[in-house]
């Protein structure tokens, strides 16, 4: 048996082949298609009508409303209504206002290791955290998938990102990812598959792993994989999914790689990325002294249960700096409920944080809380492109939920470890 990568194993199976090689173009059978209210029904339905066909298999389509939730504009309300009607007619699984698609999909048990999944959103690599080959496509391709259940893909090379040792306290998956964006650049992934491995990855929770896979998109990779392990299996069982036969789903030790980078997790400091690119990453200690107006805990990559818990660990028993607004948009309803049960939501309430819907919200530039002119924001989201979260003059710094919470307390970009240490001493 030739040694193969995790990506090759999944793609070969989906393409009905014994093995595939990087650079080959194959046609794969799609195990699941995920669409949302923005890129979904309103865009694919006209194409399906042109083709004069229905869905290839409604049981393999999941629709999630998240971009236009809560539908507080005329346009948003109209799009949500169209989305709901389509879900009803087409009888697909539909989660309405339950949270952000990339978080809801695994949490409701739709993902399992070894699947080939296509998503109508650029952060679809998130599914790679579960050992699924998941990637994002535009509306035309999604319509093709919905009509046929097939998609072509060029077998990618694998860029192995190996993280040795363990993260130190106060350092998170988001910090790893911002450091990678800074090191490799936003096209460092070259539309190949990146794979995260090593003891630091094995030690991460599933939600932290999801942050890494999610932001494979910021590296310009097609997929962001993590080989499934006992942590994956435990998460899937809780979510009601069947982990299946995942033991062999890994990159063989002597498989040919496109590149192999090694990092020391223990040496990593918390990172921030300056406006207007995730690649503008630097250790928080090297960031210029910057006052902030808004602290945003939100998005698929920065407001899951683990992210909320991290932020609350900083905020508990403290106050917001004068003039700073803290906005919290938990990534899913389930995560919010869990956080409420654990007293985490009460911490945000106690400091005067404003709770926003379980939706994309200002990460996608929607809603009443979009950033105004000249506002400086520190955000747990994945992208800080100019104008994305509101006014083009707004400046967005990306950081971990810990660092966002720390900045909310001091009013300036702050190393969260200082606040954690204070707590330790008390």
């Amino acid at each position: 048996m030739m040694a193969t990568t995790l990506a090759e194993k999944i793609i070969a199976r989906a393409a009905g082949r014994d093995r595939v090689r990087p650079g080959e173009v194959v046609t794969a059978q799609v195990d699941l298609a995920m669409i949302h209210d923005s890129g979904g029904p309103r865009r694919v339905q006209p194409i399906l009508e042109t083709l004069g066909v229905g869905l290839w298999d409604a049981r393999k389509v999941v629709l999630i409303s998240d971009h236009f939730v809560p539908g507080d504009t005329d346009e948003g309300a109209r799009i949500l209504e169209l989305t709901r009607q389509w879900a009803k007619q087409r009888r697909v699984s539909f989660y309405d206002g339950q949270g952000i698609c990339h978080v809801v999909l695994p949490e409701r048990g739709h993902l399992a290791p070894g699947m080939l999944v296509v998503g109508g959103d650029s952060h679809s690599p998130t599914g790679g955290a579960f050992g699924a080959y998941m990637f994002g496509v535009g509306a035309t391709e999604m319509a093709g998938v919905l009509a046929t259940g097939e998609i072509w893909l060029e077998v990618p090379g694998t860029i192995l990102l190996e993280w040795r040792n363990r993260l130190s306290p106060g350092v998170t998956a988001k910090d790893m990812m911002l450091a990678l964006c800074g090191r490799l650049g936003m096209d460092g992934g070259g539309y190949q598959a990146v794979e995260y491995a090593g003891p630091a990855i094995a030690a991460l929770s599933m939600q932290e792993r999801m942050t890494l896979s999610n932001m494979a998109a910021e590296l310009g990779a097609q997929a962001g994989l993590i080989a499934p392990d006992a942590t994956t299996a435990a998460y899937l069982e809780t979510a009601g999914a069947t982990p299946g036969d995942w033991q062999g789903l890994r990159t063989d030790a002597d498989a040919a790689l496109a590149a192999h980078h090694v990092f020391d997790a223990a040496a990593l400091a918390p990172q921030v990325a300056a406006p207007h690119s995730p690649a503008n990453a630097m250790p928080v200690g090297e960031a210029p002294d910057t006052a902030i107006d808004v602290a945003y805990i939100g998005a698929c990559t920065g407001a899951k249960y683990d992210d909320l818990a991290a932020a609350a660990a900083i905020l508990r028993g403290r106050r917001l700096a004068p003039g700073v607004a803290l906005l919290v948009a938990p990534a899913s309803r389930q995560d919010q409920e869990r956080a409420a049960a654990d007293g985490i939501m009460a911490v945000f309430e106690a400091v005067g944080g404003r709770l926003l819907p379980n939706a994309c919200g200002i990460c996608a530039g929607y809603g009443a809380h979009r950033l105004g002119e000249d506002v400086t924001c520190i955000s747990s989201t994945a992208r800080n492109f100019k104008g994305r979260m509101g006014a083009a003059s707004a400046k967005v710094w990306l950081a971990s939920p810990l660092s966002v919470a720390a900045a909310a307390v001091t009013g300036r970009i702050t190393d969260p470890r200082a606040l954690l240490a204070e707590r330790g001493a008390a």
Partner: protein, 165 residues
């Protein structure tokens, strides 16, 4: 039918092809401003059948399909580059715009008459009597292009299925 070569450099991104600030004007407006940052005369002078020849990482940036639509709207017959950004490459094939790579494009000059032969994987330069070898496209991608992109390709497939019934 030979067109002319428009030569551009590395890292032409989707914002240069379909500038975000003209998005509201639809493909017509986007096409009028296509590549204006690097070739201010491009939209005015390009004619159907012309070919873009580029460096590395053509089409980097966002996944917007409009970047391809703007070029198609102007009648660009194809793009030959050292390399393409992954999502742009997918979008181009799926919308029926030939995109091909070549290891060496040193023989091509701006304004050359040129003809792109997808099936033969060749860029012909009749005035120079030269032919630049291109990396061949996989059969299924060639079939997509031959039909004009994914939607017409599927239409044909579904029609054939219908006819068999």
């Amino acid at each position: 039918m030979a067109g002319r070569v428009f030569l551009v450099g590395d890292d032409i991104d989707t914002d240069q092809l379909a500038p975000g600030r003209y998005m509201a004007g639809g493909v017509e407006a986007l096409a009028q401003h296509c590549l204006e940052g690097v070739r201010p005369d491009f939209a005015r002078t390009v004619r159907p059948g012309d070919i873009l020849v580029a460096g590395r990482n053509f089409g980097a940036g966002s996944s917007r399909e409009q970047a391809v639509e703007a070029l198609r709207h102007l009648g660009v017959a194809g793009i030959v580059a050292h390399s393409f950004a992954g999502i742009f490459f997918r979008n181009a094939i799926n919308l029926g715009l030939p995109v091909m790579t070549a290891a060496d494009l040193g023989a091509v000059a701006d304004g050359d008459r040129a003809e792109l032969d997808v099936a033969a994987a060749a860029l012909r330069l009749p005035d120079r009597g030269e032919t630049v070898a291109l990396a061949p496209l996989a059969d299924n991608l060639r079939a997509l292009l031959a039909d004009g992109g994914l939607v017409p390709h599927l239409k044909k497939r579904f029609a054939a299925r219908e006819a068999q019934r």
